[in-house]
C-alpha cells in the first residue's frame, strides 16, 4: 500500500469499513460530516448498512440495535451531538455491547462553534452517560493515527465487549495529510454468542440494562469494574519523545500533543532538557508511565485545548512528586508552538530557580 493524501474524517470512515464496519448510523454535524458523507457512498457500494438518522438520539439507538445483532457498528458526531448520545451510550454500556463512537470535538459549551477543541475530555473519559462506566478512549494526533486507532477501536470493542470512543478534535477531522490505509478485511465474522438472531434451536436471549434488585445491579457493576481493571492494566498507550534525561515533561494529546511536540523540539534545540509524553489512550490514562517518570522529572507542563481537564488525571498520576503547570486555549483556539514554547521556558526557569536555591 502507498500513502494517499487523506482528510481525517474520510480516513476514519474508510478505515472503519476496511476494519469490517457493517452498519453505520449518523447525523450531520460539523466538523465530522465528511465521515458520514463518505460512508453514505462506500457502505452502499459494498452492500452494507448506512442510514442517516433523524437525530443523534436515534442514531445511537440504531447503533444499539445493530450491536444487538452482533455486527460491527459505529456512529460519529461532534460535541453537541455527542452530548445527545449520552442516553444511548449508557444503555449500551449497561448491556455489555461493543460499538465504536467517533467524537470530532468542537468549541463549546452550548452550540459553541465549529473550531477544534478538546473540551469534551471529561465527557468522553469520565462516563458514558449516567452510571458507573468508562469507555476506552483513543486520541489520534495525525491522520495516520486516526486510521490506525479506528482499526484498533473495533478490535478493542470486540475483545472486551466494550464501548470505544475515538476522541479527535476538529483539526484531526478536517486536515489532510499523507497516510496509509489498511487492507480491506474479509467480512467473515460470525454472529457472537450474545447476538439476537431469533431463538431457533436454543433458548431465547434477552439483552437488557435493567436489574431491579440492587444486589444484582451491584454484581453487574462489579463485573464492569473488573473488566476496567484489566483494561487499565493492559491497554495504556502513549507516545514519548526525549524523556530519558528530561527535567521538564510536557504532556498533551491529539492536536495539542502534536503542537507540544514541535515546541519540545524547539526547546531541545535551545539546550533545555524537555521531553514529551502524548497519551494515545485517554482512558485508560497512561498513569503508570507518568507515575514512573514523575520520579525522575522536576516539573510537568500540561497543554490542552480546554480549560484544563486532563491535567486532573496528570495530577493523580504524578501524585505530588513534581509541580504541575498548565497551558490551555479554549473556545476553539488552537495554541501556536511558540506559545507552548514560552510556557515551556517559563516552567523550565522555575525548575532551574529551584535548583539554584537547593
Amino acid at each position: 500500500m502507498t500513502k494517499e493524501l487523506l482528510k481525517g474524517n474520510v480516513a476514519i470512515a474508510e478505515a472503519a469499513l476496511r476494519a469490517g464496519l457493517e452498519a453505520y448510523f449518523g447525523y450531520p454535524i460539523t466538523p465530522q460530516t465528511e465521515l458520514l458523507e463518505h460512508l453514505s457512498k462506500r457502505m452502499v457500494e459494498l452492500g452494507r448498512v448506512f442510514l442517516q438518522a433523524e437525530s443523534e438520539v436515534a442514531a445511537i439507538n440504531m447503533v444499539y440495535g445493530a450491536a444487538c445483532s452482533g455486527v460491527r457498528t459505529m456512529t460519529s458526531s461532534s460535541s453537541p451531538g455527542f452530548s445527545l448520545m449520552q442516553e444511548g451510550l449508557s444503555y449500551i454500556a449497561g448491556s455489555d455491547l461493543p460499538c465504536v463512537v467517533v467524537d470530532v470535538m468542537r468549541g463549546g459549551p452550548g452550540l459553541g462553534n465549529i473550531m477544534p477543541s478538546q473540551g469534551d475530555y471529561f465527557q468522553v473519559t469520565r462516563s458514558a452517560g449516567h452510571g458507573d462506566f468508562r469507555p476506552i478512549v483513543l486520541a489520534p494526533a495525525s491522520v495516520q493515527e486516526a486510521i490506525d486507532f479506528t482499526v484498533l477501536a473495533f478490535d478493542l470493542a470486540d475483545k472486551y465487549r466494550h464501548l470505544v470512543v475515538i476522541a479527535a478534535d476538529g483539526l484531526i477531522g478536517q486536515m489532510m495529510e499523507p497516510a496509509e490505509l489498511p487492507e480491506m478485511r474479509p467480512s467473515s465474522r460470525s454472529a457472537p454468542d450474545y447476538a439476537l438472531t431469533g431463538a431457533k434451536g436454543r433458548p431465547p436471549r434477552a439483552i437488557t440494562s435493567l436489574h431491579m434488585a440492587a444486589e444484582e445491579e451491584e454484581a453487574f457493576n462489579i463485573k464492569i469494574q473488573q473488566r476496567l481493571g484489566v483494561i487499565r492494566s493492559l491497554e495504556q498507550r502513549w507516545f514519548e519523545y526525549k524523556v530519558d534525561d528530561a527535567l521538564l515533561l510536557v504532556i498533551g494529546y491529539g492536536t495539542a500533543g502534536r503542537i507540544a511536540y514541535t515546541a519540545v523540539e524547539s526547546a531541545r534545540s535551545k539546550g533545555l532538557k524537555v521531553g514529551l509524553l502524548r497519551p494515545q489512550t485517554l482512558y485508560p490514562f497512561p498513569e503508570d508511565r507518568i507515575s514512573e517518570l514523575a520520579d525522575q522529572i522536576e516539573g510537568v507542563l500540561v497543554v490542552e485545548m480546554n480549560a484544563g481537564q486532563m491535567v486532573e488525571d496528570v495530577r493523580l498520576a504524578v501524585g505530588g512528586q513534581a509541580p504541575i503547570s498548565f497551558y490551555g486555549r479554549m473556545g476553539g483556539v488552537v495554541p501556536m508552538p511558540d506559545e507552548v514554547l514560552s510556557n515551556i521556558e517559563a516552567a523550565y526557569e522555575r525548575i532551574s530557580a529551584r535548583y539554584l536555591v537547593e
Binding site: 445493530a66 445483532s69 439476537l196 431463538a199 431465547p204
Partner: protein
Amino acid sequence: MDSKDSLVCGIEGMELVYGRPQSLTEMHTHYCPGCTHGIAHRLVAEALDELGLREQTILVAPVGCSVFIYEYINADSCEAPHGRAPAMATGIKRTQPNKTVITYQGDGDLVSIGASEIFHAAARGEHITVFFVNNAIYGMTGGQMAPTSLPGQHTSSSLDGRSTERTGFPIRMSEVLAQLDGSAYIVRRSLHDVTNIRKAKKSILTALKVQQAGLGFSMVELLSTCPTNWGISPEQALTWVKDNMLPFYPVGDYKVTEAVKGL
C-alpha cells in the same frame, strides 16, 4: 406451530382446545388485576405461533409497565431506552432484514418521549411491526397525565382533570402516522370486550404479515385499561374504555395500502 402440541392434556379422551401459546413463557406477569397488557401479550404470542415466527422474531421492549415483556414473550428480545424502541428496531431490522422485528410500546413511550422515533420509523417505511398499547395514562410511575389522556381526565399530575388550555390536546397517533407515505398498515383496535379482542387478534396477524411481505411499516394501536391508576374496578375500566376512549379514539383502519389489501 400449533400451541396445542406443546401441552399435554393429561385426561384420556379429552382434547386440549386452549392452552398457553409457545410464544409465551411460563412466567407470571406483574400486571395489576384488570390490566389488558396480559391480553395484548397473549394475542401477540398467539399470532407469532400461528405464523410460525417465534424462532425468527426479535422483540424490542419499551420503558413503562411493559418493560418486562421480554420475560413473558418466549423469543429473542432487548429493552430500549424510553421511546427509542423504533430506532433500536431499525438497527436490528437493517442488519437482519430477514428477521421479524417488533416493538411493543405504551402511550407515554410512543406518543410522548418517543414521538420523533416512531414518526421517522414510519416515514422511512421501516419494515417493523409496532404494537401500541394506549391506556391514556402513565402507569408505571403511578398515574400521571399522558399525551393521550382525555380532556378532563383526572390523573396524579392533572388533579382537577386535564385542562386543554394548560396542557393542550391528546394526540391521535394512528391518524398522524397514517398520513405518512412510509406507513402501510395502521389500525386502532380495542381490548375492552371479546368482539373487539378478536378483531385485534386479526389485525395483529395482518400487521405481522405486512412485515413478512416487506410492504412497509405496520402498527396496531390497542386501547387498553389501567384500573389501578384510573382508580376504578377492572369491570368499570372496561366500560370506561367503551364510554370515554372509544368516542375520542375511534377504532378503525387508518391506513391499509392496496398491497396490504391484497395479502
